[in-house]
């Protein structure tokens, strides 16, 4: 029983879930209240993109799906939409990262910004597909720009956190 609990605690996706809980609490409190230029910053989206940047496209997609699902739990939008969009963002970030010859800090910032912008635009498109009206407006472009800018600024610490959370458990304890 204890071994199973230890195994669970060492599971990288469980660690990411715990990190996601903390990040989500920041998303629903301070970032919900502080809205620069009237835009709610999306650090859950940044977490999904950083997962892809840290561990590649496949892990990024799975991690993005989990992070998006957690975000869906606190939103009133249809469940699964955020999961699909965040999975795409995680995959995209990891896939784009492959093409960078020598990754450095600014290339990560650029990729995080790009993936965040794509995710911000994909979200209202996905919501429109499932029947939510009135969300796909030109305002989305402005929101995507602001979100991308701020996510680029915070991308480096988030990439470190995701690299730690999604690291493989040690073989020898």
């Amino acid at each position: 029983m204890i071994d199973r609990l230890v195994d669970l605690a060492e599971n990288r996706y469980f660690r990411l879930f715990l990190v996601g809980l903390v990040v989500l609490s920041f998303q629903t409190t301070i970032l919900n209240d502080m809205r620069p230029f009237g835009v709610c910053l999306q650090i859950m989206l940044l977490l999904a993109a950083s997962s892809g940047l840290a561990r590649g496209s496949e892990t990024g997609a799975a991690a993005g799906f989990m992070i998006g699902l957690m975000y869906d739990m606190v939103l009133t939008t249809p469940m699964g939409v955020g999961a699909a969009v965040f999975a795409a963002v995680g995959y995209l970030a990891g896939y784009a990262h492959r093409f960078v010859h020598e990754p450095n800090w600014w290339s990560q910032m650029v990729l995080a910004a790009g993936a965040s912008a794509v995710g911000t635009i994909l979200m209202p498109i996905a919501l429109t597909v499932v029947g939510v009206e009135g969300v796909l407006t030109f305002r989305v472009i402005g929101i995507a720009f602001v979100v991308a800018l701020f996510n680029a600024a915070f991308s480096l610490p988030f990439e470190r956190i995701c690299r730690w959370a999604l690291s493989e458990p040690r073989v020898v304890r």
């Binding site: 709610c40 496209s57 799906f65 957690m70 699964g80 699909a84 999975a87 979200m123 939510v132």
Partner: protein, 377 residues
């Protein structure tokens, strides 16, 4: 391990199918999805509460930096409003009480007969695309999905999700919100001096088309535009065929004489029943349009009797068996009238009475419309 056999395509396919399944389940109103949300809420709320306490100083500092001037300005404005409101309050309370007594006397439903549950707004949606707020009362208070939510200024939205100890309220501005409303169009009023003759001279004609008016002495109840209790004598136009100008004013007679005799004026014996000049009402559908746009009202008909909708006309809930809210809840005022060609009625933009950016204490009316009631299997 079996997990290692998954190729990239299979992983992506699995994620896509999972998303589609979740969306389908949620859109079909599956109880399992709500249960999942509830369980996650139980795990997440303590973490959120701790974070809220930790980040509060940062939030306060942020608001202190960004909103200081606005707060000072708003404080001045509110002081003026309080001074203005104090005087109107006494008369309003008496009027509301009288109205409720009248409704009760006639066996009509009123808001006073509906129980309510007070709550406080504890957070808003962290999304850029949904206009919802979360309140700190839920199913334990009797709140159910679909119940209307008000604050002191008027209607703010409806309950969309209910959990134990919390509920989610969709605001009026959300694109998914729609409600049957009434627009109260105040009929054009004329300023009159009881007893004094009003002489209107048509400047464009030299013939004797001048008409004279005597307004009978009436008592007007102040505060309700267009409403005059008691019967009033109908004004009579003297020989309208002789009036050569469209600017001629409708007048009431002064003397006595034969009403059918051209050129003479008389006081009509027709008595208009009380309230004949009550404000006219027309129903429509209020729809939210997102955070940056004012809600609009559609389906208001172009009726000659209703006339043109005036900016500033009050908008209240229409009520009805299938409506989301009981009748006569204040929503706001018409802020803009967008005319449309043909028989299409105008589109009306609405300025909501409640300030949705600064919601604090709210009241959930424990009124569940028939459309939102869950039928037992």
């Amino acid at each position: 391990m079996a997990g290692n056999t998954f190729t990239r395509r299979r992983i992506i396919l699995l994620l896509v199918l999972s998303s589609i399944m979740l969306v389908t389940l949620d859109l079909r109103g599956s109880g399992s999805v709500n249960g999942l949300r509830s369980v996650f809420g139980t795990v997440f709320r303590p973490v959120e509460s701790v974070t809220r306490v930790v980040v509060r100083p940062v939030e306060n500092a942020w608001h202190g930096i960004t909103n200081y001037n606005d707060v000072v300005e708003e404080n001045r404005r509110l002081k003026d409003l309080v001074a203005y409101g104090e005087g109107a309050k006494i008369g309003a309370v008496a009027s509301v009480r009288e109205a409720q007594e009248l409704l009760a006397l006639n066996g009509l439903p009123s808001l006073a007969g509906i129980n309510s549950c007070s709550a406080q707004v504890v957070g808003q949606s962290p999304s850029n695309f949904a206009q919802t707020v979360e309140i700190n009362r839920g199913s334990e208070c009797g709140i159910r999905v679909g119940m209307p939510v008000l604050n002191a200024a008027g209607l703010i939205g409806k309950v969309t999700d209910v959990f134990d100890g919390r509920a989610v309220v969709m605001l009026l501005t959300d694109p998914g919100y729609s409600l049957a409303v009434k627009v109260v169009n105040t009929p054009p009023t004329t300023t009159t001096v009881p007893g004094a003759p009003v002489i209107t001279v048509d400047q464009s004609t030299t013939t004797s088309t001048t008409t004279t008016t005597t307004i009978p002495k009436t008592t007007t109840t102040a505060g309700i535009p267009g409403f005059t209790p008691g019967s009033t004598l109908a004004p009579t136009v003297t020989n309208p065929s002789q009036s050569t100008s469209p600017n001629a004013t409708v007048v009431a007679p002064t003397g006595t004489g034969d009403i059918n005799k051209p050129g003479s004026a008389n006081q009509s014996e027709i008595t208009v029943p009380a309230g004949a000049n009550l404000p006219l009402r027309e129903t429509g559908a209020l729809e939210g349009r997102g955070i940056s746009k004012a809600p609009i009202i559609r389906f208001v008909e172009n009726q000659p009797r209703f006339g043109e909708v005036n900016v500033g006309s009050p908008v209240i809930s229409a009520g009805g068996a299938s409506s989301l809210a009981p009748p006569d809840i204040v929503i706001g005022t018409v802020s803009r009238v967008i005319k449309r060609s043909g028989t299409l009625g105008p589109l009306l933009e609405v300025k909501i009475s409640a300030n949705l950016d600064a919601l604090n204490f709210i009241r959930v009316l424990l009124y569940q419309p028939s459309t939102e009631k869950v039928n037992a299997p």
